[in-house]
């Protein structure tokens, strides 16, 4: 099997020495501390029974949110410099003048940059299984959560790669990546609320399509669905089907599933655009449109 050479090289460098193992150990230690704290405080609650599924739900939620925040904050920092960093080190041209396709370079860099986070996520899997002791959470639900994590991490990675490929400086790329993430997480909610306030006759049973792009809504809806709870943030957003699927919006796709589909499409688009951008003999990111424009111009000139 041929492993992407860029990925292999990056993994070799990143996993060298005790640093990588140290980070994993430290991370798992922090996660364990969070879980133990939640379980301990619930055990100490005199009104709670000792074997209560509520314990596992509390610990599961805490771990899930902690890990999700980690993805949201760490992945942009790791990926936003992937290509611009190569440019700054003057190594991009050396890879581009080889037989490697631009898309292979982009994919190699993407997975190399997100690998550390993905490794942390996978390493935390046994810790999550601790909640099985108390019941209330099934393995299917944990798999759903991890699937959602991986898709979210890769999507954020793709956003970082896109800006890294398009902007010369890593600092600018990092700012734009965090900015885009902030827009997806909060901007889309703001637009949604604004839209509903303008259109007073909005059918509150409908799910606002723009919120399919929101990772927070997706994550929240996944947890809400897993706990069999479809209310919650609906009240805040002002529409009944906003966060989870309810009986009135039974035909609508689950927000978290919609978010995954949106993410996968976005990833494909961003990867193609990033590869087009770094292709030195290509027509650039919007080359296709430029090509059409040139063709039109030539046609009009010939007339």
């Amino acid at each position: 099997m041929n492993i992407n050479p860029v990925l292999l090289k990056e993994l070799k460098v990143r996993m060298r020495g005790w640093k990588a193992a140290g980070i994993i150990a430290l991370y798992l230690l922090v996660l364990t501390a969070v879980a133990v704290f939640i379980i301990y405080t619930t055990f100490m609650d005199p009104y709670s029974s000792n074997i209560d599924p509520q314990i596992s739900i509390g610990a599961y939620t805490a771990l899930a949110v902690f890990q999700f925040m980690l993805i949201m904050f760490i992945v942009p920092a790791l990926t936003a410099g992937a290509i611009s960093g190569e440019r700054e080190k003057q190594t991009l041209d050396l890879v581009l003048c080889t037989r490697l396709k631009p898309i292979s370079i982009i994919i190699g860099k993407l997975f190399a940059s997100t690998s550390q986070t993905l490794l942390l996520i996978i390493a935390s899997f046994p810790l999550f299984s601790m909640v099985f002791l108390f019941g209330g959470i099934s393995i299917k639900e944990i798999m759903q959560l991890f699937g959602f994590y991986i898709v979210t991490a890769v999507t954020i990675g793709c956003i970082g790669m896109f800006f890294s490929a398009h902007l010369k400086r890593t600092t600018a790329s990092t700012v734009f990546t965090y900015g885009t993430l902030a827009f997806l997480a909060f901007g889309t909610i703001f637009i949604g609320v604004f839209y509903i306030r303008i259109f007073y006759n909005w059918d509150y049973n409908k799910f606002l399509p723009i919120l399919y792009s929101n990772p927070l809504v997706g994550f929240g809806s996944l947890l809400a669905e897993q706990f069999g709870y479809y209310g919650g943030i609906n009240a805040i957003l002002g529409f009944s089907a906003g966060f989870g699927r309810n009986s009135n919006a039974a035909n609508a796709i689950s927000p978290w599933l919609g978010n995954i589909i949106f993410d996968l499409v976005l990833c494909a688009v961003l990867l193609i655009l990033s590869a087009a951008r770094i292709n030195p003999v290509g027509k650039g990111t919007f080359g296709f449109f430029r090509f059409r424009r040139e063709k039109k111009k030539k046609a009009s000139d010939s007339i």
Partner: protein
């Protein structure tokens, strides 16, 4: 082997390369000379598929490089005028990474890495981190990298820039080895005497245009219309000048501290006659020889220089 026809590269309104034509035969070492911003690096990058030409055609063994960029990259090795090394890799890992890109595996990868490190005299640094290498060593490592897939054509952009004299000498020796191995090389440099010594032919580019190209001798003939001789004396320089001026086939005298450089229209017989005459008339001649080509003079003569642009 390599043929460039009417190559043009424009950045907005700036014409970086203008109707450039060039042919490099198999096994040739072609020296690419020109002032800063003349279009050398741009041309080299287009050859290596790192820039898109505005128009024109480049073929390698008859195959269009621009249209078959990926396939042709396997036949071209490129060394830019900057280091471009991953500091956090070991020397052997650095070469192995590029070998893996070309699908070179296992023992063959190791053998190629070892051979190349020997070639560039970095065998003892195999396990050293790239970060710990000196500038000259990094340049040599870059050269080894460009050879990892055994390319037919090597494009070297200022391979000796910023090196101290010793490192330059070592680089020159490696390039001589490559010349002996029959590699076709395009090399740009500002160290003109070294280029003259290494190259079988030279092209001088200025403001994106190829001003002159050919073998060293052809260029000297084109520029001076005749060969150039150089005479060195210990004293009586003025008398030597007067004697030389008596011969109709000697002209364009350039007088230095103890030297005279002159255009020479005659053959070997005339050269011998002039030398005998100088000695018979008591001029203390230290040396009298035909110059291989003072590329620096030619360069100054055919390019306008940055100030005049």
């Amino acid at each position: 082997m390599l043929a460039i026809k009417n190559l043009n590269k424009r950045y907005g309104k700036f014409q970086a390369v203008s109707d450039l034509n060039l042919e490099v035969a198999e096994g040739e070492i072609f020296g690419f000379v020109g002032p800063n911003g003349a279009g050398k690096t741009t041309t080299m990058k287009i050859i290596c598929g790192l820039l898109r030409a505005t128009s024109g055609e480049i073929t390698l063994d008859g195959v269009d490089i621009i249209r078959n960029s990926r396939r042709m990259k396997e036949k071209i090795g490129y060394m830019p005028d900057f280091f471009g090394v991953y500091d956090d890799l070991k020397v052997s890992e650095y070469l192995e990474f590029y070998a893996s890109i070309y699908n070179i595996k296992g023992q063959e990868r190791k053998r190629i890495t070892d051979d190349l490190l020997e070639l560039v005299d970095l065998g003892s640094k195999r396990e050293a981190y790239v970060d710990s290498l000196s500038r000259g060593m990094k340049q040599r490592l870059c050269l080894a990298r460009s050879l990892v897939h055994n390319p037919r054509l090597l494009v070297l952009d200022e391979p000796a820039s910023g090196m101290d004299p010793r490192a330059r000498f070592e680089m020159k020796e490696i390039l001589k080895n490559l010349k002996g191995m029959g590699k076709t090389i395009i090399i740009s440099s500002h160290i003109l005497p070294e280029l003259a010594e290494l190259c079988t032919s030279i092209g001088i580019i200025d403001q994106g245009r190829m001003v002159i190209s050919g073998s060293n001798e052809e260029i000297m003939q084109q520029v001076y219309n005749k060969k150039v001789v150089r005479l060195k004396v210990t004293e009586r320089l003025d008398d030597a000048v007067l004697i030389l001026k008596e011969y109709p086939f000697v002209d364009k005298l350039v007088i230095g501290e103890n030297t005279i450089q002159a255009g020479f229209g005659g053959g070997d017989g005339e050269m011998s006659r002039v030398l005998s005459d100088l000695i018979n008339r008591g001029i203390p001649v230290v040396s009298f020889s035909q110059m291989d080509g003072n590329l620096e003079d030619v360069f100054m003569k055919v390019t306008k220089g940055e100030e005049e642009q």
